[in-house]
Symmetry: C2
Subunit: 420 residues, 2 copies
């Protein structure tokens, strides 16, 4: 049976390595994301019903319903959410990913990324910046009006600029940023910089006012995480063809909704293996502490799943320094991830690791055997709706997800008569 698994994993890894994530445009979620209606609300992580949602996810849902014009205020939004009229679903069930709460509603503009090697697409909202933002569960007037500006100004200008410029090869861009101190999850300064220099000459050529164009360039410049929302759908479009390969034990999804952490394993198809999300070990903004922290939340862990983020920490020691560690710790994190991954990335190479490829393709059995859990870089949301980000740090998934997945895999193999 190990031969079958080995061969299947080779196939899965071939698919992963040959991915060609490419930014092809911007669309409106309700128009481009499969299966989205006016009353659909997509969210990060595995599926979850309203009553079990964490504070920041509830906050983002409230904000999404207000933004969508389906509710006037918090109270109306909560009643609507409770009414059963809203179709909540995982971003991942719709070829989408969302950072933190990951709420996507029908009117939101989304990046459209295509994996040119397979033709599959992935979608992600545009990054809102720092401070009070929907993805951290804030929904004040400031949050909603920024979302409107993004819909009315940011997205149309970038959409036109992209149409003039043509597609952008995200794989090549991510390969460059990994050599410029970004790990692609919690440090995106180089990525944001490269994207701005790539798009700016075409922003100028769009048919909008100079003031609007300048605002768009300033908005991107003011937010070093702007590129995260491109890395995420790049990773999602890379990982989808890794799923649903019989006998393959590669983890092709990791995601959290703020209550549960969930993983999906190639051979086990669309089935989620979930367990309570962990609290993040991190650095808190002044005035906040671990007591304020919501458990781990967001689809951004798709970066680690695809071989960057925490797995590429060696290339971004500034991240570890942020939580009190040293560059040596960063190298240690990356080195340990080779023990649970199937290959070294052929495109993403780290100077500080002698240009070794990042550890790529989490293999279920190796996690169980070594008892080493994936390392994840992430932001920390306040546990209550409406507050926002309170810090950033490092976290790991619950081991139970992997144990349950392995048990299910073994049962499936037994059902197929491959083991006794």
């Amino acid at each position: 049976m190990q031969d079958l698994i080995k061969k299947a994993n080779q196939q899965a890894m071939n698919n992963l390595q040959k991915a060609q994530p490419t930014l092809i445009g911007i669309g409106i979620a309700g128009e481009v994301i499969p299966g989205m209606a006016k009353k659909t609300v997509l969210h990060a992580g595995p599926p979850i019903e309203w009553t079990r949602m964490s504070g920041p996810l509830k906050g983002a849902v409230i904000g999404g319903l207000i933004y969508e014009g389906l509710a006037e205020n918090e109270a109306e939004a909560v009643s609507l959410a409770e009414s059963g009229e809203i179709a909540f679903d995982s971003c991942h069930h719709h070829n989408a990913v969302g950072p933190m709460a990951g709420v996507v509603t029908a009117s939101m503009p989304v990046w459209i990324v295509e994996n040119k090697a397979f033709g599959n697409k992935a979608y992600c909202t545009l990054n809102e910046g720092l401070g009070k933002v929907l993805r951290y569960g804030a929904y004040s007037e400031e949050v909603i009006s920024r979302l409107r500006w993004m819909e009315e100004t940011l997205a149309p200008i970038l959409k036109e600029a992209l149409a003039i410029r043509g597609e952008i090869d995200l794989k090549s861009m991510i390969a460059q940023v990994v050599q410029m101190g970004d790990e692609g999850h919690n440090r995106n300064k180089a990525g944001t910089s490269l994207f701005i220099r790539e798009i700016a000459p075409y922003v100028v050529l769009t048919d909008f006012s100079n003031e609007a164009k300048s605002e768009v360039l300033k908005f991107m410049h003011s937010n070093d995480h702007f590129f995260l929302n491109l890395t995420m759908p790049a990773a999602k479009s890379t990982m989808d063809p890794v799923g649903n390969i019989p006998y393959a034990t590669i983890v092709y999804t990791m995601a959290r909704n703020g209550t549960d952490f969930g993983i999906r394993v190639s051979a086990l198809g669309d089935r989620w293996f979930t367990a309570p999300a962990e609290i993040i070990d991190g650095l808190f903004f002044p005035g906040y502490s671990k007591e304020d922290a919501n458990p781990d939340i967001g689809d951004s862990v798709i970066t680690e799943t695809s071989g960057i983020g925490g797995f590429a920490m060696a290339t971004a020691p500034a991240i570890v320094q942020f939580v009190g560690g040293t560059p040596q710790d960063a190298i240690h994190f990356t080195t340990s991830m080779y023990e649970i991954t199937e290959q070294e990335n052929e495109a993403y190479k780290m100077p500080s690791m002698n240009f070794r490829g990042t550890p790529t393709g989490i293999e279920l059995q190796k996690v169980i055997e070594t008892q080493i859990l994936p390392i994840i870089n992430t932001g920390i949301a306040h546990k209550n709706p409406g507050v926002g980000q309170v810090g950033a740090g490092l976290v790991r998934p619950p081991m139970k997800c992997f144990e349950d997945a392995l048990e299910a895999f073994v049962m499936k193999m037994a059902e197929e008569g491959l083991i006794e």
Copy 2:
């Protein structure tokens, strides 16, 4: 006497460390650089007469005279250069620096950088990009018309954008790029990216056509060395206040004109100590070899003099890889430079060296004692006028410059009765 030297070097290093290089604007060389007239031609390195100039410097002078309208063609330019009518002088004698040939003529636009801690200014032309360019000794029609476009479009737009935006703190920007894989001399990708994102929102707001603004943004985007011409005057403005401090043995200038390598030492004022420039150990573009190479040329070694460039190689292993080395070699280069420098840079810190500051402030006696010469990253020019760049690599200054300087220092101390 060593006490006097120690105290003087402390003063010199205080000046170096507290420098605040800041981009304040763009001007026309003949209008802003002290002592420039229509028939002045500034060049890189120590002073040199026309007859002793190397091929690429002669080529750049020819191009400069044609661009300036002082000659119609190569033959006229050569006669004029030979006539004695042209006042050739070192950039360094006019608070300026120039990469490679470093030719500056009166009509060229120049960056104006001010060291806010001391009020001194430094000037540098704008980077022309790669391929056939004046700084590598090319002077074809293509070169001259690019220079005109820079004068008529690039510089006016950037000047206006800067005026709208306001000054840019270059020290903070260089500190960031040293954490993003740039060493600031031969790798300037992060710097160019950060500069573009900083200025693009204001380029949009200038009073020029969208086509011209887009061209300017594309021009900067197409040239990863665009930021070099900002790092250089930042370093020059940093180092000038380190010069002319009695008893200080810090090297405050290193520069090459393609024939001679020259250094200046703080206590010895404006006196140059020169020796024949070395041939560069490097990688050549297809079709070229060491036989085609001109000796070491350019003022860009002011970056190493100020503590970045080759001295910060550990942070930019991609450079060493380019010439066949490993990231370990890069760390070794940087580590060895601590042996000949006075301090660790307080602003420029390298992640791969556990955030240690770059080795900064070359101390003359240490070079002689250890026999370790500064390591320099550089481009390679063809030895004939009119050709251009043929490669890039690593080089060191001739030891003779340091030996002669130490001898002069000892004599000066003896004259002052401080030693027998």
